[in-house]
């Protein structure tokens, strides 16, 4: 085997080198021999020099390793050893350097090293140690980790026996021994979880695994691992333990615990919860919701709470709910609900806890009630009450005391009793008070009268007491301090005295008689001066009689009845009785009796006697007066009534009843005007009533119209006077009505007459004017003409004037005729009207005018039916028809033939005759007011006298009718004549 070898002399010159050596150092192409080794390659560094020097000096050199790599063989590792080079004389003449290729070894070593590192790391992480057992040599090797697990030192040398002894005695140790034995004998591997006891005495769980190493079918050793799983196991055990504990705990907790899913179905409940809701087994409750357990309202509330908690993720803590189960039982629970989240923080439901606090709540309520009661008694008592501890420090004080001193709780509580505000000279009383407290704390009840100051520093007498308060073990725990104000007692006593005095005064001076007599014997014990006066008995006289002798009625049964009532009820009355005076006369009384017991237990009766003989007399008088008044009222020719504030009649007299056609007065009582009269009238009356009652002013002599429901009208002269009671309140009104219907009718007739008269008068004046004017114009002419005649010299002229005088005279005669005609109408006011057939009259007039009508080519169209009758004076109607028809023809338009239309209509109480023509017409705007005037003419017609229409109008009016006109110039005129159908 070729070897890399080199020989160097003492000065390190190469003497010999093998080819392999030269090749190894890549010196093939160089001169090697004779050259200084260190000059050949940088590989030969100080280490080489040191090694060679040591070698030359006779010491063994340390081998060096070189590493080279080529593509063919990869990494090549060479170990160089230095050996001295001896000559035949054993002198060192140089050094021999020999290289062995250790590449394989190095490679194995490296791999091993890596494995070990790997193994070590793994065992570090998993706390896995390893071991190896050589059967032949009976040696056991532990890795460091294995040693660490056993808590032994690094240099600890285990044996198989000692190793087995580390296992916990008993099951664990037996098991491992058996495993080892089976492995050695049968080659069976093992993997067991066992406990060891470490060198430090700790018990540990390990996984011990092992297998046989087999060579030539023979077990030569064992190889195994050893893993510390103690923490893991412990954790596991602990988890199991915890779970078990938790379950036990939950089930035994006196709190109801449950978990609900998002649908509020119970997915876990404890026993307490199932007991609470009345389920035998907790499993029965799983999957149920509150709706299966509680009533609708409770379940809804609970579900809403669940949703709230799940939605907001905010826990609900310590809420007090009232829940009502399906069977109606009610419970109070304190509920907490917290969201139930999974690993991913998603809401899976809620965890609920509830505590049945029904009993607690009731107990608390009861306690509060008691406390409240105590408080209210404590505070509302008229006494000053305080509670002190045995050292005299205030624990409690009531409102009465605080109010008295005008202090607040804080001013008193925790302060010493003797430091309180109300002690008048604190320094002086302090010691005394301390003594008091000491004595009370020692079990004595202390009581004394003291003076305290109120909030205005007024001294007040107080009956003060201090009592010990014992607890159930008979220990004095606190002191009760009480103060009763004696001032009030004094005042009360004063008041009593005063009222006694008042009573006495009343007793002495009252007009009412008081008699005190013995219930059993009837002996009169006391009486007041009033009795003495009314009865005439004095003390001496009364002593001789019994109470019952005073009574006129000696009926024993009545007496016993009164006595039994008295015994039972202790009082009786009012009783109407008659007393006998001393002089034997009787008088009416009203009696109240009252039974009392005196100190000796004697039954005494107070008899309170009111002399009503006067009032009885007065009453009779009033009754008589009332009767008299009633008679007067009923016989008055006036309707008299009294109404209440609602206008309901509460009193009516006979006249009112007669007017309303009612015989019994009672029937009217309570009725109002709306019941009796037409609604409008009733409303008017009600308004009057209200006005009178609100203004308190009487309504006097007002004319009112009443319309009864039967429609009959009555005119009254009514007065309404407000009624007041003693305190001035309006209680209603007094009404007085006088029926003036007849009077009213007469008045109206009179007024009509006056109107007529004044109309006539006006007409007369008018007529007088007309007459005077017309006559005057003629006299003026006469006067003028005569004057001319007197002064005229010319004979011809004289003749002419005389002719004129003659004409004037004729004119005057005409005028007088006309006037006569008019006067005739006006004087014949009372010409008898008759029912006249209108058409007959029209025909008669047509007959008379036949020639005139024919000459003027006039035609008359009459549409009046033959059964039309009018109420007229026959002479007038002829004159009127003649006049109007003549006018209609006379004033016709020259270019057309006159057409006259006659028709009748009815308006109110009038029959209206229309006479329509197609003539000249007349400008009514100009002449309207004059058309019916006397001597008014409107056309140049020679025949126009200005008298016809005037006369016709007078005639129409004389028959209580009227006439109107409508006209248009050159179109025609229509006259309407109103004939009154009434007389």
């Amino acid at each position: 085997m070729p070897k890399a070898i080199v020989f160097v002399n003492n000065v390190f010159e190469v003497v010999y080198a093998s080819d392999l050596w030269i090749h190894t150092f890549e010196l093939d192409n160089r001169t090697v021999f004779g050259n200084d080794l260190f000059s050949l390659s940088t590989t030969f560094d100080q280490n080489w020099k040191k090694g060679l020097k040591r070698c030359i000096s006779g010491k063994t050199g340390i081998p060096l390793v070189t590493n080279s790599s080529d593509s063919k063989s990869g990494n090549t590792w060479i170990e160089w050893t230095f050996v001295p080079w001896y000559d035949e004389h054993e002198n060192i003449i140089g050094a021999i350097m020999q290289g062995d290729d250790i590449s394989l070894r190095v490679r194995d070593e490296l791999r091993m090293e890596r494995l070990q590192i790997l193994l070590h790391e793994k065992s570090e992480i998993g706390k896995i140690g390893s071991w190896e057992y050589d059967i032949q040599n009976n040696t056991l090797a532990w890795s460091l980790m294995t040693k660490a697990i056993h808590e032994v030192a690094h240099d600890y040398m285990p044996t198989l026996e000692s190793a087995i002894c580390f296992y916990k005695q008993g099951h664990d140790r037996n098991k491992i021994a058996m495993c080892v034995d089976n492995a050695i004998r049968k080659g069976i591997p093992w993997h067991e979880r066992l406990r060891i006891v470490t060198k430090n005495g700790d018990e540990k769980w390990v996984i011990a695994a092992g297998k046989a190493i087999i060579k030539n079918k023979q077990v030569v050793g064992l190889l195994g691992t050893f893993q510390d799983i103690n923490e893991h196991i412990r954790r596991e055990i602990k988890t199991n333990e915890n779970e078990r504990l938790l379950k036990t705990l939950i089930d035994n907790l006196p709190i109801n615990i449950y978990i609900k899913d998002t649908e509020s179905r119970k997915i876990l409940v404890n026993k307490s919860e199932s007991d609470f809701v009345g389920f035998a087994k907790t499993d029965d409750l799983l999957g149920k919701t509150d709706f299966d357990i509680y009533d609708e309202e409770t379940a809804n509330m609970s579900r809403n709470e669940d949703l709230e908690v799940m939605n907001t993720l905010r826990p609900l803590l310590g809420k007090t709910d009232t829940c009502i189960k399906k069977d109606g039982t009610k419970a109070f629970i304190s509920v907490s609900k917290i969201p139930y989240l999974d690993d991913k923080n998603e809401v899976k439901g809620i965890i609920g806890m509830s505590l049945d606090i029904t009993d607690k709540l009731l107990a608390q309520q009861e306690r509060e009630e008691k406390e409240r009661n105590f408080r209210s008694i404590f505070n509302s008592s008229y006494q000053f009450t305080g509670i002190l501890d045995i050292d005299g420090t205030f624990l409690e004080i009531n409102e009465t005391a605080l109010k008295f001193a005008n202090l607040r709780q804080a001013d008193i509580i925790d302060k010493k009793f003797w430091d309180a505000y109300w002690w008048p000279i604190p320094d002086v009383v302090k010691d005394g008070l301390k003594e008091l407290i000491k004595a009370a704390a020692g079990g004595q009840v202390m009581r004394s009268e003291i003076v305290v100051l109120d909030h205005e520093k007024r001294p007040t007498n107080v009956d003060f007491s201090l009592k010990p308060i014992y607890d159930e073990t008979n220990q004095i725990v606190s002191l009760l301090a009480e103060g009763r104000m004696i001032n009030e007692m004094v005042v009360a006593r004063e008041k009593l005295r005063e009222s006694e005095l008042k009573f006495r005064t009343l007793y002495e001076l009252s007009p009412v008689s008081f008699i005190l007599f013995d219930f059993e014997t009837g002996e009169i014990i006391d009486f007041n001066p009033s009795f003495e006066q009314t009865s005439g008995y004095d003390k001496e006289a009364i002593a001789k009689i019994q109470y019952w002798d005073l009574l006129a009625n000696k009926d024993v049964q009545l007496k016993e009845q009164i006595n039994s009532t008295l015994e039972k009820e202790r009082s009786c009355g009012p009783l109407e009785e008659t007393y006998i005076k001393k002089d034997g006369t009787e008088f009416s009384v009203i009696i109240y009796k009252s039974l009392i017991l005196n100190k000796k237990g004697q039954k005494l009766v107070w008899s309170i006697v009111q002399d009503v003989s006067e009032s009885v007399k007065k009453e009779r008088q009033i009754r008589e007066e009332r009767k008299l008044l009633r008679t007067v009222i009923d016989n008055l020719p006036l309707n008299v009534y009294i109404k209440d504030t609602e206008s309901r009649k509460i009193l009516v007299n006979k006249s009112e009843c007669d007017y309303l056609g009612i015989t019994n007065q009672e029937e009217l009582i309570g009725l109002d005007d709306f019941d009796l009269y037409d609604d409008d009238v009733a409303q008017v009356s009600r308004d009057e009533d209200l006005k009178v009652m609100s203004t308190r002013q009487p309504m006097l002599g007002k004319e009112t119209l009443n319309i009864k429901t039967d429609g009959s009208h009555t005119t009254f002269l009514t007065s309404k006077i407000p009624l007041k009671n003693e305190i001035g309140e309006i209680t209603g009104l007094l009404g007085i009505s006088l029926d003036i219907t007849g009077l009213k009718h007469k008045e109206e007739e009179l007024r009509h007459l006056i109107n007529m008269t004044s109309l006539q008068n006006k007409k007369l004046i008018n007529f007088a004017h007309i007459v005077s004017h017309n006559l005057r114009s003629h006299t003026a002419n006469f006067s003028m003409l005569l004057d001319f005649l007197m002064h005229e010299k010319d004979e011809n002229e004289k003749v002419r004037i005389i002719k004129m005088l003659t004409d004037a005279s004729d004119n005057l005669l005409d005028t007088l005729d006309n006037l006569n005609e008019v006067v005739a109408i006006s004087t014949n006011v009372n010409l008898e009207k008759q029912r006249v057939n209108l058409n007959e009259k029209i025909k008669s007039v047509e007959q008379n005018l036949q020639g005139f009508i024919l000459n003027n080519n006039a035609s008359i169209i009459n549409t009046i039916s033959d059964d039309v009758f009018v109420n007229v004076v026959p002479v007038y109607i002829e004159s009127i028809l003649l006049n109007f028809i003549t006018n209609a023809v006379k004033y016709h338009a020259p270019e057309r033939n006159p057409v006259i239309k006659l028709s009748v209509t009815h308006e109110d109480t009038y029959s209206v005759l229309s006479i329509e023509d197609n003539g000249l017409g007349i400008d009514l705007e100009k002449h309207g007011d004059k058309i019916f005037g006397m001597y008014k003419t409107f056309h140049t017609n020679k025949d126009a006298r200005g008298i016809g229409l005037y006369i016709s109008k007078n005639q129409i009016e004389a028959m209580n009718g009227k006439v109107t006109v409508q006209s248009k110039v050159n179109k025609g005129t229509t006259f309407k004549i109103y004939f009154n159908d009434r007389n």
Partner: protein, 134 residues
């Protein structure tokens, strides 16, 4: 004797018209005395004069009670006409009605023309008075 250009006599009573004219002739000299039977005829004549721009009469004798258009209606129309000239209008009536006298007072205030009120028959002295220049 006063000379007057034009005089109107308005009256339906022919005797009175004769009387007025006769008395007039003894107190004034006037060639143009015209008479009218009612107010309407006189008014028509005056409107004609105005249209022809001839001379408006100096004096008018006016009766009150007349057919067709009475004295008051005439006066109402006349004073409304645009006549600058101050015309003397003498109302001559037989009326003793106070109403007519009051009416005269009313119209007197309403016009610049001279208005007198005279009862029939009218005497010579009064005639001399009422024919003086307006």
């Amino acid at each position: 004797m006063t000379e007057i250009n034009s005089i109107f006599v308005i009256d339906d009573d022919s005797i009175m018209v004769f009387g007025i004219k006769k008395i007039l002739s003894s107190v004034v000299i006037c060639d143009a005395i015209k008479t009218f039977g009612n107010g309407q005829l006189a008014l028509d004549a005056i409107l004609e004069i105005l249209r022809k721009k001839e001379e408006i009469p100096d004096i008018i004798f006016l009766d009150i009670n007349m057919p067709i258009m009475d004295g008051w209606q005439f006066l109402e129309e006349f004073i409304a006409l645009p006549i600058q000239k101050k015309v003397r209008i003498n109302i001559v009536t037989s009326s003793i009605d106070n109403y007519d006298r009051e009416n005269w007072q009313k119209y007197k205030l309403k016009t610049h023309h001279t208005l007198t009120y005279n009862n029939k028959p009218i005497g010579r002295e009064i005639m001399a008075e009422v024919t003086k220049a307006a």
